[in-house]
């Protein structure tokens, strides 16, 4: 009985009157919502337009000839450039990964003090340095001063300096996500500092670190500015020499061949852009997939 009375009294409470959202507020909200949707649609449209533009122009040029022929002045294939891009990216990765990962370990395990903070700050600043400046310093130091001329080694070392801070920071983030208890368990069983870092923490952080490395390779594949004056350009296959021997790479094809007046060169530029964009996007997606798979599996920590 009593509950019924309460219910009916609630039901009879008059609804708040006189509260109306003003027309101005409604109009502003509608406008803001439109703008928010527009900004996302704009970004999606830009992405589709870039990828679509490259794919449409590159489509007629995608023939087996690209993989079997080397470039000549205005056309040909891209065999030498593909090889060069792979050599440089892999070379830079091989140099940058050990240094970057151990710098990342240092930052996450011992980076709480003043020196660690300083290091973190400087590596963040290093990320922001324009790649053309790196290329120019590579030019005056390695190409001129050391006399290596345009060479594979100069290109690889320049790319390495560019990749180091990225790899260090992604490793640090991956390691810092591992709970403290894991380290304590390791030390409690009598493991030394090196064993804890290398055999306990590193495998746990591996998926996230790998993702960072994939991103780094993608980044180095897409770079042009630091290579223009360090790696040079060559129409021929790489002969295995690290110094005094220039090398071709895909991004160079894009920006020089598009300036030639021939349709064949333009097609080659777009084909190179297609290969580079495809490679970079696949690497990024593979890195993400790796991270998600790692997170789903047991024994791996949130990245």
């Amino acid at each position: 009985m009593a509950s019924k009375a309460v219910e009916s009294s609630i039901a009879t409470i008059p609804r708040a009157k006189g509260f109306k959202v003003s027309l101005y507020r409604r109009a502003m909200s509608a406008f803001a919502w439109l703008f928010v949707v527009f900004s996302f649609v704009f970004l999606a449209a830009m992405f589709i337009s870039i990828v679509g533009d490259v794919v449409i122009h590159a489509w007629p040029a995608l023939t087996p000839k690209l993989l079997t022929d080397i470039t000549n002045g205005i056309g040909g294939g891209l065999k030498n450039a593909i090889e060069g891009s792979i050599v440089m990216s892999v070379g830079a990765l091989l140099l940058a990964a050990p240094i970057g990962i151990s710098a990342g370990i240092y930052l996450s395990e011992h980076g709480q003090g003043g020196a660690g903070k300083m290091l973190r700050f400087l590596s963040d600043v290093l990320v922001g340095i324009p790649s053309i400046v790196l290329g120019y310093v590579g030019y005056i130091t390695m190409v001129i001063y050391l006399g290596w001329q345009f060479s594979v080694a100069a290109g690889i070392i320049t790319l390495t300096v560019m990749l180091l801070p990225y790899i260090a920071r992604s490793t640090e983030l991956a390691m810092a996500n591992i709970p403290l208890a894991v380290r304590e368990a390791g030390y409690g069983l009598g493991a030394g500092e090196g064993r804890v870092a290398l055999q306990i923490l590193l495998p746990g952080a591996a998926p996230a670190i790998m993702t960072g490395l994939f991103y780094a390779v993608a980044l180095s594949m897409g770079e042009t500015a630091p290579l223009l004056y360090t790696a040079g350009w060559s129409n021929y296959m790489w002969n295995g020499q690290f110094t005094k021997e220039p090398i071709g790479y895909l991004t160079y094809v894009i920006w020089t061949f598009i300036n030639e007046p021939f349709a064949e060169s333009h097609m080659l530029a777009f084909a190179a852009a297609f290969l580079i964009t495809g490679g970079v996007l696949i690497l990024i997606l593979a890195g993400r997939w790796l991270l998600i798979r790692g997170q789903r599996r047991m024994g791996v920590y949130q990245g």
Partner: protein, 318 residues
């Protein structure tokens, strides 16, 4: 005492990072020292880049060997770099905030993941591909249709009217730069929107604001520091961008833009495009002057990044 081999090894490898930053600055200063002495500071605000008569005999001017008539002034580069980056920021900021809101709160969680892929992949596209896209699609489109239309419509507004140009120029560069930096701003902003305390949003909602108003009046003011920090960071990226700008800017020489359609050049693009001709100078002063430009660009970006990181650290993002 046992030497901690492992830790010493870590410290040695980790010190590569600050060392390479210092080495960059030191090498550039050493190499460009003759040019710094010859040009002094006014090279920043004089406007005549001229390699001189490359077939003449080198002459002695102010204690340095240069080609006859050679002058190195980069005011047009300073203007082009700063104006194009600022314009890009102006275009990028609102769109980046809108996209960040859309992906963090505007759509349901299960859609946000796949949709944010567009933005993240946009950030991964190489800059030379942006340049190619600008060169092949934007320049003809802007130059033949949009710029003439804009110039006619806004003919009385300063900097928007006047000669619509060929499509290569300030506005095209700024547009490409804006598309490049929007994903960067948007990604960090999205993270910090998700990290804002829910209690704040709930307080706003309980006062009768709708979600957009909560975002505008509560979340965004809370993220002011982050916003400024990320903005400066993106500005640094825009200042140093080379290939994309090189392909759409029109590569103006000694020319100050009089409206937003005019061709420009930026420091980074100028370094990339001019080394070949600078190498023709037998006195080597041109190459050293280019290295001085690289030094100026490096110092600008170091200062900009320093400021941005300091702000972001104070806001405790990462």
């Amino acid at each position: 005492m046992k030497i901690p081999v492992f830790r010493v090894g870590l410290i040695v490898t980790a010190s590569f990072l600050p060392l390479s930053l210092i080495a960059l600055i030191v090498f550039l200063v050493i190499y460009s020292w003759p040019a710094i002495q010859f040009n002094q500071l006014h090279f920043l605000w004089t406007n005549d880049w001229n390699l001189g008569n490359l077939y003449g005999n080198p002459v002695d001017v102010r204690g340095a060997q240069i080609m006859p008539g050679a002058k190195y002034g980069i005011w047009f580069l300073v203007v082009g770099t700063i104006v194009s980056s600022m314009l890009a920021m102006l275009m990028a900021m609102p769109v980046a905030i809108g996209a960040a809101y859309f992906l963090s709160e505007g759509v349901r969680r299960s859609w946000a993941g796949p949709l944010s892929l567009f933005v993240d992949l946009l950030a991964a596209i190489p800059s030379v591909v942006y340049g190619l896209w600008g060169y092949a699609l934007l320049v003809p489109l802007f130059g033949q249709t949009i710029f003439p239309f804009m110039a006619k419509t806004f003919s009385l507004v300063p900097f928007l009217g006047g000669d619509p140009g060929s499509g290569y120029g300030l506005l095209t560069s700024a547009f490409v730069l804006a598309v490049m930096i929007i994903p960067l701003i948007s990604a960090t902003l999205r993270e910090s929107i998700q990290m804002t305390e829910p209690a704040l949003k709930e307080a706003g909602l309980s006062l009768g604001l709708n979600r957009l108003e909560v975002f505008w009046h509560i979340t965004l003011p809370k993220l002011k520091t982050v916003l400024i920090g990320v903005g400066i960071l993106a500005l640094g990226r825009a200042l140093g961008e080379t290939m994309a700008v090189l392909m759409v800017s029109g590569n103006a020489l000694n020319y100050l833009p009089n409206n937003i359609y005019a061709p420009i050049s930026t420091m980074a693009a100028f370094i990339a495009s001019q080394l070949d001709s600078a190498l023709q100078d037998p006195t080597n002063m041109a190459v050293e002057a280019l290295s001085e430009i690289a030094l100026v660009l490096l110092l600008i970006t170091v200062v900009v990044n320093f400021a941005a990181r300091l702000l972001l650290w104070m806001a405790r993002v990462r």
